[in-house]
Amino acid sequence: METQNFEEKLLKMTKPEVNQLKHQDMLADAITNAKDKSVVSWWWLSVPLFIIAMLTMKSAFMPQTTLISNIHELKSKQPVSSLLFFLIVPICIIIFNTWSIRKVWSLSDNPKDSNSIQSLWVNGLMIIFSIIVLIIYSL
């Protein structure tokens, strides 16, 4: 009789703890996944950023050209590659990183005080860089 009561008590006591542990596990997975995504985003975004850096150097060494004119030249000479690296990749990066931040935000108990959102600053940086690439491409 005593043993049965104890088991019932134990089950009641551990249920909230199990839920909390599951929630913490999900949050930790979401943060790790978001960080993985930020690394992949950084590698893919480094390609258009490298091209922009090279075209900026070209415009500095050739005074008759500007970064915008060089981007226009790139668009006409490499239409598929420029569309991929300057439009499709940044848009995908914005979508995936926003999704990750939103997921961590929704899993955080108290998002305003939580450090979990602050740990995703690289994802925010990737979104900002993607917007800059899109603006430069659209000029």
């Binding site: 997975d29 979401a30 790790t32 996944n33 960080k35 993985d36 995504k37 690394v39 992949v40 950084w42 590698w43 893919w44 480094s46 390609v47 490298f50 091209i51 090279m54 997921k103």
Partner: protein
């Protein structure tokens, strides 16, 4: 299916299995081949380096994408 070929360390994905190591070695071999190919066609060392760094970034981007989908972190 959960694959465990890579684990992330900073901004790099390190191999944790034989398949992962094979992918890394293939990537390095392709980078070396690209360097030799670019160097044979370029006119100066800066020309070689600019084109090789661009190719290296593309190889790194493809490698990181493969590693992301085959690392042990649950995707979602």
């Amino acid at each position: 299916m959960k694959l465990n070929w890579f684990k992330r360390e900073g901004i790099f994905f390190l191999p944790t299995s034989i398949v992962g190591w094979l992918i890394l070695v293939a990537g390095i071999a392709f980078a070396v081949y690209s360097f030799i190919d670019i160097d044979s066609r370029s006119h100066s060392s800066s020309d070689t380096l600019i084109n090789f760094v661009f190719m290296l970034l593309i190889i790194g981007a493809v490698y990181s994408l493969i590693a992301y989908f085959t690392s042990r972190t649950p995707k979602g």
